[in-house]
Symmetry: C2
Subunit: 656 residues, 2 copies
C-alpha cells in the first residue's frame, strides 16, 4: 500500500500558496502585494471515496479544519477510529475552513487518501479528483507550509566596516538569515556589496531587537549587520530539483554560463516559477512562459510547470487579464498547450481545461467587432518595454491571439470537446490570420507594421518574432522577416532580455545559431566577467560599477537573479543540441544538432518521459568529427547533415 | 466629521462571518459543518478614494493585512503618517490577505474611510462601494470578530444532583459559560433539565481540564457540571436590537406569548437570521425568509435582513441551489424583492442585483424544456416535510418559480435594467402561469394537484397556500381554495411550524384572523403552559414530558428556541393590527385593523423609515368601541369598517 497523502480541492493548494507568495514582496521596509486580482480557495469542500475493504479494518479521518465523516451515510467525528467491516463502502468527508486550505488525511489499514478521491466545492458535483502532492504523506505535515529544503550556508568572509559587520556568503542565495544579538540591530541585504553597505539605498532590510533570530527568507549574497551578532549563518531555501541537463563545449566559459543559468533558474523555481527572487517574487505569466521552456530543458520538473499554470489561471470567474496583461493571458493558454504537447499529461489538461476555457472566453469577450485585441479598461497591452506604436490594435497582440485560438482548438480536441467548439476556434484563427495579413502587412517594408490606425507604419521586431515562432508565416516569409527586420539595424533593437530570448529563438529556429552563441559569450559571459554568481534581470555592457545595479529609478532596483536570464539553457538544448518533441507527449522527438560556432560539445538534454514516470533524456556528444547520441526513451530521430537515424533507447548511435 | 470605519469588499464581511458561523455546529462532541457549498472572500482587494483636502493635513492607512498606499500614484507603507497638501488627491490602497477578510482603516485630520470609498477585487473595476458596519469605528476593532454584546447572567438556582451540580439560569440563553475548576470536569448543556442531566444523551457538552474557563457560546438554560466549580456564570451573547413592536390585548397570555416570541427571535438574530440556536445554527433561506417578515414587524433591523440575504447569495459562480434546496433559491429572490418593497433601499439592491441575477440564471438553466422546475442532480426539492407527491415537476415549486420570475422582473426594473430583460422575466412568468393552470388545476377537486405525471391527482395544501400568498389566483379562486383545501379536513394537515406560518398567513390574508388567534392560544400558549421560555421548533400537544424534546431520532434533538416559532409577531402586526406597505419603500402604507377574537388591543408596529433613518412605527389601540392610530411617518391610510382615513404623522386619528 502506498502512503496516504493529504488531499484538497484540486488547484486550491496552488491558489492558497499563490496568495501567500504574492503577499511577501517588500521594498524599503514596506509591504508590496501584487496589484492584480486573485481567486481564493473553496472554504467548504466535500471528499468522497468508494472503497473496498478486503477484511474487517478501520479508518480515521484527520483534517486541518472542522469536518465530519460519513461512512455509508452514518456520521462520525474526525480523529475517531471507525471500524470498517469487510466489503464495499462509501466514505464522505465534509470540511470547512475560514482561514486557509481545507485538507484531509486518511489513516487506515486498507485505505489511503490520494488524488483518486473525488471532491466537490459543494454538495454534489463530485466529479473531480482531489489534489495531492508527494510532499505531504505524514499526518504531521502542514499543507499550508510549502515543502522547501534547507541547507546551511556559512559566510565565506566576515569583514568589519564603518557601518557594522559585512558577511559574504560567496554566492547569490535565497535564505533565512539566522543569528543572535544582545541588542537591537538592522540587517541590510545585498546582492552586491554596494547594496548591503549603501544603507540609505538598500532595498531590503530588517530591524530586529535583542534575541535569537531566523529572519524570513530573502535574496542576498551579502548582509551587513549594524551591531554585534553571533552564529551568523544562512539557511538556503530551495525546492528539491534534479538537474538533468548538462552542457559543455570547447569554450569552457560556456559550461560556466550554463551552470550559472541553471543555478539562477533553480533559485527562481519555487512554489511557482518566479520572475526574480529579490524584488517582485511574483508569478508573471510572460516570465513563466519562458520558464516553462527552460524547465523543460533543465529539470523537466512537470509539477513545477503545472503548479505555475494552475496558480496563474486561478479560478473562474475571470475578472481581468492574467497579471492584467492581455498578452500574458494569451501566453498562458499557449503555454498550456505546449505543456500538453511536451508531456501528454491529459489528466492535468482535463482538470485545467475549464479554467483555460473561461480565460479564453474572457479574451474573446473583449475583442473588437473585427475580432482584434484592443485595450479595454483595466487592460495592459504590454508585449515589451520598447518603442512600439500602440495606437489602436497592435500587431504582435493579434499574432499571440491567433496562436491562442489555435491552442484552444487543440486543447479542446485533446479533452474530447465538441467539434463545434473546435471549429469555432479554428474559424476565429483563420479569419484573424486573413485580417492580420490584410491590415498589418506592409508590402513596401516587407514587414508587419505595429498599427494600422495611426498611419505611421512603424515597424518593430515583436510581430516578426512571434510570426516566426508560431509559424504564422511560411519559411520564405520568415527568412524575409529576418532580412528586413531582425537583421535590419534601422529597426529599434530589442533591449529587454525577456524579448531577447524570443528573438534568439526566432533566429535559431531559422538556423542562425551562431548569433545566439555569440550573444551567450558577450551578454552572459559579460556578466560572469563582472563576478556575477547568478544571471541579472538586464545587462548593459556600456555601464560600469554600481551603475549595473540600478533599475526602475532605484539605485539597487535591478534583480541580479532573474529567471529569464536562464535562456541559454533552453537555447543550447533546443537549438544547438537540437532536441524537440515532434508529437504530443513527446511520443516522437527530433535530435538535430547544430554545433554552430562550437567545434565540439557534450550535452545531456531532458526529453519525454521514461516508463518509470521520470523525465527521459538524450546524451549527445560531438567532437568535431563524430556525433554520438544515446536516448533512454523511444521515439527519437537523429537528424544530421540531412539524414535521419532512428534512436533506439539504450543504444548509442554514432555517426562519423 | 464622522468617525472612520473599517472597510472591506462589499459582501465579503458577510461571506467571511458566514463561513465562520457555518463552522460552529457541534453534536455529541463532534464538529458538524454545513453540507452546502460556500463562496470565499476576495483575498486581494483595492480601495480607492478621490478626496479633497481643504488645508495641509495627513493620513495614515491601517490594515489588518499586507498593504500599501498610493497617494497620487506615489507609494507609501501602511501605518505611516503621510503628509497631504491642500487640494484634490487620489488615494489607492492595495491589500492582500490569505487567512481572512482584508480590511483597511483611514486615520486622518480630514478624511474618513467609509462606504463612499470604491473598491475592486482586482486592479480596475473600482465601480462598487466598499462595505462597512457601524460597529467598526475604532482602529482597534477587529472585523473578523462579530460585534456581539454580552450580559452576565447568574444562575437562579444551584442544585447538587447525583451527576454533579445543576445550574439553572432561569431562561433560555445563548451564552458563554464561565467558571473555574481545580480538576477536570464535563459541562453538559440543556435547554431542559432532562437534557442537561441525561448525560448519555445530551446533545452539547464539553470536557475541560483544571483552570479558568470561558467556553464558546452555546444555547442552554441548564448546565450540569460534573465536578466542583467556582464563579459559575453565563455571558449572554446578543446582537443589540431595539424592539419596536409591542402587542397586548384583553387576553393577558397573548402579550406573554408575543414577548416570548420576541425573545426567541432576538436569540436567533445574530450574524444572520438563524434557524435555531442549539442545533444547526445555520442560515437556511426558507427559515430566513420567514424571519425577514418577523424582523420587519419586530425590530425592523434592516441591516440584519441585508446581512442574511448577502450571506445566503454568497458570490457567483452559483454552483448549487441555496442550501441545495430549489425552493430556497426562489425564496431568496422573492425575499430580496420584498426587502426592497419594504425598505426602498436601492443602494443595497444595486449591490446585490448581479448576485440575484446569477442565482436566477442558475435557476432558469436547470428548468426543463417547458420551463418547469424539475429535480436535477444535487437538487433538493423540499417545500415541506409532508406527504407530498413529488413525482415529476411539483406544483408548489412552480408557483414559487412564478413569483421568482415576477420578483426578478421588478428588481430588474428597480435597478434600471434593460427592458428586454424585464420582458423576458415577465414572459416566462406568463407562460409558466398558463402552464401551471393547464397542468395542475383539477376542475373536479377545485384545487391544484401536486404532480401531473404520477396520475395520482394528489392534493396537498402547499400549492394552494403559495397561490393565495403570491396572488397567483384571484380572490374568488383563493376563497375556493380555502374552502376546498385549507378547510378540508381530508387534506393532510400541515405539521411543521415552518409551513404552518404560511398557512396562517394565507388564511389571515383572506380574513380568517380568528383561526390564527385560536392557534396562538393553543399552539403557542400550549408551550408556555409547559414552562417554555422560548418557542420550540415544533410542538405537539398530544405528547407529554420529555417526549416533547426529541426530534430527528435524537432524544434531545429538538431545538427549543427556534426562529420560525416567532410567527405570532408577524401575524399580529400584519393581520390583526393590519399594517402593510402598499408601495415601494413604504412610501404609502395601510393600517387595516381586524381585532378578530380580541375585544381590545394596544399595539405598536414598525413601519417605513423616519427622516432620521430609524424605523418608523404606528401605534394602534382599540378598546372595543373606539380606535386610535398614531404614526410617526407619512403615507399611512387607516382602513376601518370600509372607510379610509389619512394618517397624519404625529397626529392621533381617533374613530369612535
Amino acid at each position: 500500500m502506498e502512503k496516504s497523502r493529504w488531499i484538497w480541492y484540486p488547484g486550491d493548494y496552488e491558489i492558497y500558496h499563490s496568495i501567500k507568495l504574492h503577499s511577501r514582496r517588500e521594498e524599503y521596509g514596506a509591504e508590496y502585494p501584487c496589484f492584480w486580482g486573485m481567486a481564493n480557495v473553496y472554504p467548504r469542500v466535500n471528499f468522497e471515496k468508494n472503497a473496498s475493504f478486503e477484511r474487517d479494518g478501520y479508518l480515521i479521518i484527520h483534517a486541518n479544519c472542522k469536518c465530519y465523516v460519513l461512512l455509508d451515510g452514518r456520521r462520525y467525528p474526525r480523529g475517531e477510529r471507525i471500524a470498517v467491516p469487510a466489503g464495499n463502502h462509501n466514505i464522505q468527508v465534509v470540511t470547512i475552513k475560514y482561514d486557509g486550505l481545507p485538507a484531509i488525511y486518511c489513516e487506515s489499514d486498507q485505505l489511503i487518501s490520494d488524488r483518486s478521491w473525488k471532491c466537490s466545492p459543494g454538495t454534489s458535483f463530485r466529479d473531480v479528483n482531489a489534489g495531492d502532492e508527494p510532499a505531504y504523506t505524514s499526518l504531521n505535515d502542514n499543507v499550508e507550509v510549502f515543502p522547501f529544503e534547507y541547507t546551511v550556508v556559512e559566510p565565506v568572509s566576515v569583514e568589519k566596516t564603518s557601518g557594522g559587520t559585512l558577511y559574504d556568503f560567496g554566492r547569490e542565495l535565497f535564505a533565512k538569515l539566522d543569528f543572535g544579538c544582545e541588542s537591537g540591530l538592522t540587517a541590510y541585504y545585498g546582492e552586491t556589496v554596494e547594496e548591503a553597505t549603501d544603507t540609505a539605498n538598500t532595498l531590503i532590510f530588517e530591524k530586529v531587537g535583542a534575541g535569537e533570530h531566523s529572519l524570513v527568507p530573502r535574496a542576498f549574497r551579502y548582509v551587513l549587520l549594524t551591531g554585534e551578532a553571533s552564529g551568523v549563518k544562512a539557511e538556503l531555501e530551495l525546492v528539491h530539483e534534479e538537474q538533468i541537463a548538462k552542457f559543455s563545449c570547447d569554450r569552457p566559459e560556456v559550461e560556466k554560463i550554463f551552470d550559472v543559468c541553471a543555478y539562477t533558474f533553480h533559485l527562481n523555481s519555487r512554489e511557482f516559477l518566479l520572475d526574480g527572487i529579490k524584488r517582485d517574487r511574483w508569478c508573471w505569466s510572460g516570465d513563466a512562459y519562458q520558464s516553462y521552456m527552460v524547465n523543460d530543458y533543465l529539470f523537466a520538473d512537470r509539477a513545477l510547470n503545472r503548479r505555475t499554470i494552475t496558480a496563474l489561471y486561478g479560478k473562474p470567474p475571470v475578472l481581468e487579464h492574467i497579471n492584467t496583461i492581455n498578452d500574458y493571458s494569451a501566453l498562458l493558454i499557449i503555454g498550456t498547450w505546449e505543456y500538453y504537447f511536451t508531456t501528454g499529461d491529459i489528466d492535468f489538461i482535463r482538470f485545467i481545461y475549464p479554467r483555460a476555457k473561461a480565460l479564453y472566453d474572457f479574451i474573446v469577450s473583449r475583442l473588437d467587432e473585427n475580432g482584434l485585441v484592443v485595450s479595454r479598461p483595466g487592460d495592459w497591452i504590454f508585449i515589451d518595454w520598447s518603442d512600439i506604436d500602440k495606437d489602436g490594435p497592435l500587431c504582435a497582440e493579434q499574432i499571440l491571439l491567433w496562436q491562442a485560438h489555435n491552442a484552444m482548438a487543440w486543447l479542446t480536441e485533446a479533452v474530447g470537446g465538441a467539434k463545434s467548439d473546435v471549429d469555432l476556434c479554428n474559424k476565429r484563427a483563420d479569419s484573424l490570420k486573413a485580417l492580420i495579413n490584410e491590415k498589418y502587412w506592409d508590402n513596401e517594408k516587407q514587414a508587419f507594421i505595429d498599427s494600422f490606425t495611426s498611419g505611421r507604419r512603424h515597424v518593430t521586431r515583436h510581430a516578426a518574432i512571434f510570426a516566426i515562432l508560431y509559424d504564422f508565416v511560411d519559411k520564405k516569409t520568415a527568412d524575409l522577416l529576418v532580412e528586413k527586420v531582425l537583421e535590419n539595424d534601422s529597426i529599434t533593437k530589442i533591449t529587454t532580455p525577456y524579448f531577447e530570448l524570443y528573438e534568439l529563438m526566432a533566429l535559431c529556429k531559422l538556423g542562425h545559431i551562431e548569433y545566439a552563441q555569440n550573444m551567450i559569450d558577450s551578454y552572459w559571459g559579460g556578466m560572469l566577467k563582472l563576478g556575477a554568481t547568478s544571471i541579472w534581470e538586464q545587462y548593459d555592457p556600456t555601464q560600469s560599477g554600481a551603475e549595473h545595479y540600478g533599475m526602475y529609478g532605484m539605485r539597487y532596483g535591478k534583480s541580479l537573479c532573474h529567471a529569464w536570464g536562464s535562456g541559454p539553457v533552453y537555447l543550447l538544448g533546443r537549438y544547438c543540441v537540437g532536441v524537440r518533441p515532434t508529437s504530443v507527449g513527446t511520443k516522437t522527438f527530433e535530435v538535430a544538432p547544430r554545433p554552430g560556432l562550437y567545434r565540439s560539445f557534450d550535452a545531456v538534454v531532458p526529453v519525454g518521459t521514461r516508463p518509470d514516470g521520470k523525465p527521459g533524456s538524450v546524451h549527445v556528444a560531438y567532437d568535431g568529427r563524430s556525433l554520438r547520441a544515446l536516448a533512454d526513451i523511444p521515439g527519437g530521430t537523429l537528424v544530421w547533415e540531412g539524414r535521419e537515424y532512428e534512436l533506439v533507447p539504450g543504444v548509442e548511435t554514432k555517426i562519423d
